[in-house]
């Protein structure tokens, strides 16, 4: 099996198989209240404390659309460069389950609010467009809990009725890396727009994964299997890898793939059949008679368009043009809206190049180590900016800056006062530096001789000695210059 970035192929008996992937991402709409009721959507509350009569489907209760959720869906549609459908219809998807109080889910079937669009992925070998088939709004179900009571299943309806956007991609994804990039890009766009917090741990972003395989070169798509409800990128990749290999094995053994719904078992790292096409639910979709068709006018859509912030693709373009960043650097800095904000704050008052290096280097390492988001960074953008300015104006060297950074990370201290308190100011007085250099030269006559006879590499030795004697405070640039003169 080869897994390089160009091609994700499964090879068996000299047959090369291509893997075709499509994702149905369920993104929870960022909204204070639910799609058709006024109950709160806050995560982590006591079970069944955020349930209205509508959410619990009491007799005679009726859904009333939450306009904010419509706006969020339209915003997301615009972010996905998609068609906004001015007329969409809410349908009922009928099935019985204990955590589905109405006995149907209100969703959009034939007429979704958002139509075709696309997302650009930045892959190492260039950009790739992934088609979006549609985006529709629907209600989430409640949660069945099977492991608290040995005899009974318990139901928590806090999530019942929470608004989800189902974003369906075209079967354009071809590798695990693309899946990773696609999810991250979607998440990034929605976080820029403020339409989904993208928090996978809290279940705000989950996906159903469609996988099929075909011999490389074939034009026709193979029969696909759908893997339901996978809640992390890692699990998506594991599930796809298992499922694609399983399908190849079946085909290689002369069998054929049955269209079915499968479940990914994260503990055993395998997918298992949930139900075949024959036992597929007949959801008996029909337009919900409690809700009128949703009609949006141009003015409404235009108003929303005006409020769309600069999105990652545009921001990247601007960073490259304005700050002369490399596409790679720009990508990293725009990938998350909070990172881009931090970067823009730092670079507003200090050197862009240094800002880029310090954020993607030291700061990211720190965040990784502490496993925190940039919004929780112990070093504020203001103080990082000051630190960078100290380097830029020669007050401290890059090396000293690293030790100042180490101090700053414990409580966001002002780097200027750290430098003063600890006396870390760089020695840039040429006379003092000359004294230091003279001392090193006198103490190492053999090395001086060797250097002068052509051992150029020894230059580093002298610099090192000078820096050592100055406790690292000597201005390395000046030391270099003076040393060169003295040794010539």
């Amino acid at each position: 099996m080869s897994k390089n970035n160009d091609e994700y192929l499964i090879i068996r008996n000299n047959n090369k198989y291509e893997v075709i992937i499509g994702l149905e991402v369920h993104a929870q709409v960022l909204s204070e209240s639910k799609l058709f009721s006024t109950s709160s959507t806050k995560f982590g509350s006591e079970p069944n404390t955020q349930v209205s009569l509508v959410d619990a489907a009491f007799p005679g209760m009726l859904p009333v659309i939450n306009e904010h959720c419509i706006k969020q869906a339209v915003k997301t549609g615009i972010g996905l460069k998609a068609t906004i459908n001015k007329r969409s219809i809410f349908d009922r998807k009928n099935y019985f389950y204990a955590d589905l109080p109405q006995g149907y889910q209100i969703s959009q079937y034939k007429n979704p609010i958002v139509g075709e669009g696309s997302v650009v992925l930045d892959m190492p070998n260039g950009e790739k467009n992934i088609g979006i088939e549609r985006l529709h709004l629907e209600q989430d179900a409640g949660k069945s809990i099977h492991d608290i009571d040995p005899q009974n299943t318990l139901v928590d309806l806090n999530r019942s009725g929470v608004a989800l956007m189902e974003i369906v991609s075209k079967p354009d994804l071809r590798s695990l890396d693309e899946v990773n990039a696609y999810i991250k890009k979607l998440r990034s766009i929605m976080r820029y727009l403020g339409t989904c917090d993208g928090n996978m741990q809290e279940g705000s972003l989950r996906a159903d994964v469609n996988v099929s395989v075909r011999k490389k070169g074939d034009k026709k798509l193979g029969t696909r299997c759908e893997i339901k409800n996978v809640n992390s990128i890692k699990f998506m990749q594991m599930a796809i890898d298992f499922e694609a290999n399983r399908q190849v094995d079946v085909i290689e053994e002369g069998g054929s793939i049955d269209q079915e719904t499968r479940l990914f078992d994260t503990k055993k790292n395998e997918t298992r059949s949930m139900r075949s096409k024959e036992d597929a639910h007949d959801y008996r979709y029909f337009p919900d008679p409690d809700l009128l068709p949703l009609e949006l006018n141009d003015n409404y859509i235009d108003q929303i368009k005006k409020d769309i912030p600069e999105l990652p693709d545009e921001k990247k373009k601007r960073f490259i043009e304005k700050f002369k960043l490399s596409p790679y650097e720009a990508n990293i800095l725009v990938s998350d809206i909070e990172i881009s904000k931090y970067f823009e704050e730092v670079s507003k008052n200090s050197d862009v190049k240094l800002a880029t290096n310090w954020i993607t280097g030291e700061l990211f390492a720190l965040l990784n180590e502490k496993n925190i988001e940039i919004t929780e960074s112990p070093i504020s953008s203001k103080n990082l900016s000051k630190l960078i300015n100290l380097i830029k104006d020669g007050t401290i060297s890059g090396k000293i800056a690293k030790s100042v950074f180490e101090i700053m990370r414990d409580g966001d201290k002002d780097p200027i006062s750290i430098v003063e308190e600890k006396g870390l100011k760089q020695q840039s007085d040429p006379k003092e530096l000359e004294n230091l250099i003279n001392k090193v030269i006198t103490e190492n006559p053999k090395n001086v001789e060797a250097y002068k006879s052509g051992k150029d590499k020894l230059f580093g030795f002298f610099v090192g000695q000078v820096m050592k004697n100055s406790n690292g405070k000597a201005n390395p640039k000046l030391v270099n210059e003076i040393l060169k003169k003295k040794l010539s």
Partner: protein, 485 residues
Amino acid sequence: MSNITDLKLVELVDKIKKKELSSAEVTIAFIERSKKSKKLNTFISENYDNAIKKAKIFDQKPDFKKKLPGIPIAVKDLFCTKNIRTTAGSKILENFVPTYESTVTQNILDEGGIIIGKLNCDEFAMGSSNETSYFGNVQNPVSENLVPGGSSGGSSSALAAKLTPATIGTDTGGSIRQPASFTGTVGLKPTYGSCSRYGIVAFASSLDQAGPMTHDVKDCSLMLEIMSNYDTKDSTSVEFKRENYLNNLNENIKGKKIGIPKEYRVEGMPKEIDELWEKGIKIIKENGGEIIEISLPNTNYALPTYYIVAPAEASSNLARYDGVKYGFRSKGENLIDMYEKTRSEGFGDEVKRRIMIGTYVLSSGYYDAYYLKAQKVRRLIKNDFDEAYKKVDAILTPSTPSSAFKIGEKLNDPVSMYLNDIFTVPINLAGLPAISIPAGHDKKGYPLGLQVIGKAFDEQSILNIALALEKNISFKNNITDWWIK
């Protein structure tokens, strides 16, 4: 002075406002009569003690600005009423007590009305004779062992028997107008979107509409005025200018153009109904109205369309009664087993029949041929009315193709039962307002009704036309109190 219970709603309101009667006197009078009328089986739940308490409280500090000042009223058991059991005539909700109030009953309470009880109805409003109720048959006060119509059969019976001065029903395919016709009372189905559906146990959401049932057109106007409002809790509620229906009530129909649809002359219809219709036409003409023959060519398809659309919606609306959250639950081996037992035992035969029809017509492979086709025909039926209303202001038809029938007579013949609704169903499909008023008797002495159908949101016109008819017909209901020993 005559009996309190013989007074009409507007008269009672007047007498209470003039302090000739107290709310307690009126409330107690209707409750006393109700207590003597158990044989009719009109009440599923009684709220007598609480109602008398409320009447006495009203009398201590009466607010005469209210439109129903301390007036007792019994309502169909399809309206959710806070702290009063609401069953929808079904075992599955036998012990269900809502913590909330439907918008329509809230409107009645806000105007000073006092709820004395919940009235029997066909299970989930599915039926035309009140025989599908889990709580048993209802007697028509007109004659023993006669059905009161349905699904608002408890309402029509209680009203005709004077157990309540007015009542409210719901009408999905004729459930207000047919029982009104069978009991010699007035029943109005408003335009879809006029009365809020919030808190009404749903049967078929795109057809359900609450409406008043009263002794005469005046009372009906007052009740409609109270019931109808724009309600943001119902997304299908319509914001339009609601008239002061009672104040604007006017019997002058000079120049009004009234359509007579030829498709409503069905074969095998009793002679009396034809005569009654002619009588209505004559009255219109004599009062300066103009009679115009019209055609509603798709009328024949209304009943089959209705029996696809209504069960389809019902099959989904009733999915929530699964034993999980509230209502009746049967023990089961597992979830599926519990569902099956709960719903098999909790629903009656007619409800199950309609759930099965509805599930079938929505199934993949049948959806296009049934549900989708029915929606298209529904549109054609609506277009028929739109065309007709280019020429006329309202339409006059009989309310039902026959008078009330005996209990048990049609119970095992659902198609014959469904045929009862042929004159009322098209109006629900088109979302229009229609009123049934008593117009005469058949040779058995059973009441018969005429139906006036209006333009959307033009309830005032049909009330006015109904008033003109009512004044000239001078209908008398011959009810003998046979059930009171």
